[in-house]
Structure formats: structure tokens, C-alpha cells
Subunit: 112 residues, 3 copies
């Protein structure tokens, strides 16, 4: 299993969620975060003012999926979260050793 | 070491925390999140309205533990977070390569 | 690639960010969290009142870096986040299998 963590522009949430639902992803956890990437939150470099950084509001979405679904989920998030403008975000795929669904006690793939 | 990530119902936090303390888990990080699982935040499926999703408020708890404590922590969280109603949550166990306690510089198991 | 997750005192964010920028770390995601460590949010143990826990506000910073940068990032966060007082925080280094930069489609190290 994999945990697919994506940092996206907040207004893209609904589109990403619908696209994930369409490929059978059944759950998602969303956190309001702030962050910066290579432009340090600016669209322009200020003269000498490299230390000035803006943290911009983003959403961090986290979806646990079977390993063979991870690539597809990444492709779908990429396609739907992209605007072509800077700040579109990042995706990180990390391993999950075990998963559990609390109500039923199901484990691993059955738990997702 | 393992990072045990659990998404639980908010009112269960105190009970889960006490149960973890009782088995010797010394720390926890909690984030307010919103999410949905298989019912997409609804207790009923609306006719044709699959696209309607409610994100429900949950807490994401994150505990770093020695690997041999992870199973016990998962069992304790499962037992205390469960109500038997839908939406009880999920647990994901993920690997930690290194840990560090900032004040003391202790590393790995000593850091937890 | 590694995901370096650090829980720090909120007032230390700017200092940590500047130090990371100085070693070439280009991005960061920050979440407002609450947590406790070994003192359970207290500086003193109350008689018999083990069940009393304060969750203190912290920031959870998350930085994705190439594996050979992770140790340096951990050292820099440790040096800048440390006050010497309890509650300075923890760092957890976890593996990343794949990374993607949404705007460009770049993957793995190129995506960071
Ligand atoms: N290395 C990183 N580690 C953790 N989070 C990151 C990292 N880089 C970016 N992020 C998160 O992703 C968000 C969006 O990043 P962003 O898309 O601006 O990356 P970028 O590399 O600057 O790409 P672009 O040039 O398309 O803007 C940031 O606000 C931050 O929350
Ligand atoms: N696949 C997933 N990936 C990430 N987070 C998830 C996933 N599934 C559920 N969650 C998180 O866990 C929370 C609770 O999920 P929930 O307990 O409703 O799962 P479920 O599979 O629908 O189980 P149940 O049938 O018992 O409701 C969601 O609100 C979401 O935050
Ligand atoms: N085992 C843990 N798992 C997850 N998060 C933790 C853990 N321990 C601490 N944290 C997070 O780190 C924050 C700071 O912890 P803290 O620095 O107090 O750890 P500590 O072990 O008590 O060290 P110190 O003795 O220096 O206070 C906590 O508020 C919590 O958010
Ligand atoms: Mg950017
Ligand atoms: Mg559900
Ligand atoms: Mg402490």
C-alpha cells in the first residue's frame, strides 16, 4: 500500500476529488497547510530580498491506496490539479506497512 | 521505528490518548483535518448524486513509536476509537528511518 | 528521497526556514498542530493527576529532499529549532518512493 500525499491549490480540491472517485479511490484526508516552493511564495525575485518568503495557503491531501493504484492516482491528481501556473504543487508517494479500518477491524488492502 | 497515523472521530481523542499513555506511548501530534471514506461523508447514497461529498471533521493523530510497540498501539487505538458506527476511521503504519529529539540530540529509539 | 517531518516551536519557523534556504532546500509545507511529549504538556507532574494533559501548539514542517541532503537538513533544523528548554520538538525522517512536480511533470529528484 502507498500513501499518496499531494499539496495542491485549494480551489482544485473538488476537481481532484471527483477524478479520484472516478478511478475508485474511496477515501481522502485533507489538511489546510501553508507552504512555498522554488519561488518562495513570490512570483518575482525582489532585489536582494531573498529572505522574504510568503507562505501561501495550500491543501494537503492524503490518500491511502493499494500499491497498484498509486501510479494511476498520481496521474489523475497531476492531470486535474495542474493549471500550468507556478504553485501547482507536488506529489509524494510514501510506503504504508499496515492499514486498518477501525469499525470493522479489516486490515491492509481490505481496509482501504 | 514506525509512525502510526490514525484518523479518528474528534470526541475520541481523550480516550485514545489515555489508552496510549497507559501502554507507555509518550508523545502525540494532532492535526484537525476533514475527510471522507466509503460513504463519501453521507450515511445514505443520494439517487444519482454520487458527486455530492461531505467532508467531515476528523482528527489525524500521529505517534512515533519503536517498531515493537506499533502493533500494540494500533490495537489500543482500534479498541478505544471504535464506536461501531460508520466513520470510525483508519490507521496507517508507515516506516521511520531516523528520529531525533531536538533538545537533547538523542536519536532513534532514544529520541521517542 | 526523504520526507523530513519536524515538530517545532511556532516562533522558530522563520529561523528554521532561513537556515534550510541557506543549504539549498527549496520548499516546505507547514501545518498548525498541537501535541505533547514526555512532560505531557506540563512542566511539572501533578500529584496523581497523570490524566491531565495539555496539548500545546506546535508547527509541523514537512520538507521533501534528496536522500543525501536529509542528514544536513536534520542537523540544520536541530541547530536552529533548539532553545534548550523542554518542548523543542522532534524530527522524523521517512522514505519517499516517488515525487512529482505538478506543473512540469518532473519526477523524483528533479521534482524537489
Ligand atoms: N520540497 C518540498 N517539500 C515539502 N513541500 C513542498 C516542497 N516543495 C513544494 N512544497 C509544497 O508544495 C506547494 C507548492 O509548491 P510549488 O508548486 O510552488 O513547487 P515548485 O517547485 O515551486 O513548482 P512551480 O515552479 O511549478 O511553482 C508549496 O507551497 C509547499 O506547500
Ligand atoms: N483511503 C483513505 N485514504 C486517506 N484517508 C482516508 C481513507 N479512507 C478514510 N480516510 C480518512 O478516515 C476518515 C474516516 O473514514 P471512515 O471510517 O469513514 O472509512 P470507511 O472505509 O468509510 O469506514 P466505515 O465504513 O466504517 O465508515 C475519513 O473521513 C478520512 O479522513
Ligand atoms: N512520540 C511522538 N510521536 C509524535 N509526535 C511527538 C512525539 N513526541 C513528541 N511529539 C511532538 O513533538 C512535540 C514536542 O515534543 P517534545 O519536544 O516536548 O518531546 P519530549 O520528548 O518531551 O522532549 P523534551 O524533554 O525536550 O520536551 C509534541 O508537542 C508533539 O507534537
Ligand atoms: Mg512554486
Ligand atoms: Mg465511512
Ligand atoms: Mg517535552
Amino acid at each position: 500500500m502507498k500513501l499518496v500525499v499531494a499539496i495542491i491549490k485549494p480551489f482544485k480540491l473538488d476537481e481532484v476529488r471527483q477524478a479520484l472517485t472516478a478511478i475508485g479511490v474511496h477515501g481522502m484526508t485533507v489538511t489546510e497547510v501553508k507552504g512555498y516552493g522554488r519561488q518562495k511564495g513570490h512570483t518575482e525575485i525582489y532585489r536582494g530580498a531573498e529572505y522574504v518568503v510568503n507562505f501561501l495557503p495550500k491543501l494537503r491531501i492524503e490518500i491511502a491506496v493499494a500499491s497498484d493504484v498509486a501510479d494511476k492516482a498520481v496521474a489523475v491528481i497531476t492531470a486535474t490539479a495542474r493549471t500550468g501556473q507556478i504553485g501547482d504543487g507536488k506529489i509524494f508517494v510514501t510506503p504504508i506497512d499496515h492499514a486498518l479500518r477501525i469499525r470493522t477491524g479489516e486490515t491492509d488492502s481490505d481496509a482501504l
